[in-house]
Subunit: 312 residues, 2 copies
């Protein structure tokens, strides 16, 4: 792999939502003939032709026709620079496929799994060279959302992490490298903690599902699009920073923690909350969501640029 | 109070950050002579003249000079339509001040507390007519952030809640009425649950304070600015909605919940995390934050408008 970019193919294993979203991202940055998608589904060509254009901007929809589709893993990876896996979330499947990929791919190809929960240290069990595997977990859909969680196993090579970092930064993504593996990685852990509290408050009858969403959309959503929670509370503490914040209202924070975090999956809140969500939202249009999210990300980027030019 | 808007004065008790931010919001919607600020601090005039213009747009900074400042509560509230309290977070203070305000304000004036934690059912203890008091809790700073949590006590009059709702909607805010009181209200409960998980993950050495912020800013921040958590996960479940989401990955969600929510205030994580925040951010400029947040809110509003015009 050159220091500037890659020479060989990008091979995506699995043509689900994540796979096609990554395909859209790669196609916008990469000569299209270098992108291959491997999936055993019999209607692969029809499915990709139907779905992939939805992820591409209006003036680039023709890109969806110019990639290679195949069910033959062994030959697909032969000239790979990057193999990116988003197959079934099943440890056995992932162990087997990396063993197979390693047999056929070039020695310097990068191996990335999009798993949302099976750590590289589990997936690499049958690999000859365990240092090659890295989790690159996106926030769905990756062609819109900038975050990529890079979660190495203890064996992953530092050099291969750096190559992944450079690759994603050249594509204007936000890769974050974890110091160690953890259950669920970070973004989902954070979001699910808030979701748990939301479920509890709806279940207790304080507010409805839709009111929770209104609350988040008109407070911490836009705030955290700009400054994350630590920087926000560091600001909230005035001159004392985060320490000042906890000095002022640490008691209130702990009181909230003591009350919260009590619901679990399968404890009976499901029927009421699923029904509220269905009644409020029915079938949702994720293309609208993605268009609006892109505009928010654009507004933050513009504001940062103005800040650097004018305010600094 | 007329059905269109108010006839009398808006009286703000307390000239702290929240009080002046509300002043900026009211001044932009209200004849300035009708706004009064009550605060016993001896340097009140100097302080307000110095601080309030920072909260106003460039072409409206002169508004800061045209309001009434006083330390005389009894006469300030005599012609009030709305009395909005943001004094010390101290139950005794609040009980006493509402008792005093009720003696001097007109019978139909609305009484709102900006408290972040002392429920109306505690604050109203010494009031003759307990039905008049409503918590109207902002998300700081209220001249930027649209959310207002309207938290009635069991005694609060339904008619007075409706008047508060109309008032805030005419000012393009997002008021949400709670069905019951709860510890910390909802926005802080949700945000603090996520903060707790963030502290735990930094304390365990998975990522740093700054990396948590990067993660949130490039994933759930912009997403939740557009669609709150329930709508987002309802979409994540495809045709099955929120129920489908939990069917697919309820096990992962529970695994995350089992691992998380373990830190408490004063358990020794503080030094490391406060230092990381201080090293990463030092003194922050909240005017930059507010400008960027306003642009994000504008982008969401624009995108919604486009959606209604074109997509519907």
């Amino acid at each position: 792999m050159s220091s500037q970019d890659i020479d060989g193919d990008i091979v995506l294993i699995g043509a689900g939502t994540i796979g096609l979203s990554f395909a859209a991202l790669h196609l916008q940055h990469q000569s299209a003939v270098k992108l291959k998608i491997v999936d055993p589904r019999p209607d692969l060509e029809f499915y990709v032709t139907e779905t992939l254009p939805k992820y591409l901007p209006d003036n680039q929809k023709q890109l969806a026709r110019s990639l290679t589709l195949t069910s033959d893993l062994a030959s697909a990876v032969q000239n790979a620079s990057i193999v990116q896996e988003q197959g079934p979330e099943n440890a056995h499947f992932k162990k087997r496929i990396w063993e197979e990929i390693e047999k056929h791919a070039p020695k310097n190809a990068l191996f990335w799994s999009s798993t949302s929960g099976i750590p590289a240290s589990v997936q690499n069990e049958r690999m000859m060279d365990k240092s090659r595997l890295l989790v690159v977990h996106p926030y769905n859909p990756p062609h819109v959302m900038p975050l990529l969680e890079l979660v190495p196993s203890p064996e992953t090579s530092e050099d291969l992490i750096q190559q992944a970092l450079s690759f994603w930064r050249r594509r204007s993504r936000e890769p974050v490298v974890f110091k160690k593996e953890c259950t669920g990685f970070v973004a989902n852990r954070l979001a699910f903690a808030l979701l748990r509290e939301a479920i509890q408050l709806v279940n207790e009858g304080v507010v409805t599902v839709e009111e929770v969403d209104t609350i988040v959309q008109s407070s911490m959503g836009p705030r955290w699009a700009v400054w994350g929670p630590f920087k926000s509370y560091h600001a909230g503490g005035g001159a004392g920073g985060l320490e000042g914040f906890f000095k002022n209202i640490g008691g209130t924070v702990q009181a909230c923690w003591d009350e919260g975090g009590k619901v679990n999956v399968g404890e009976g809140w499901e029927e009421k909350i699923f029904k509220q969500a269905q009644d409020a939202y029915g079938v949702v249009d994720t293309q609208k969501r993605d268009k609006m999210t892109s505009e928010v990300l654009g507004a933050v980027a513009d504001a940062k640029e103005v800040r650097q030019q004018v305010w600094k």
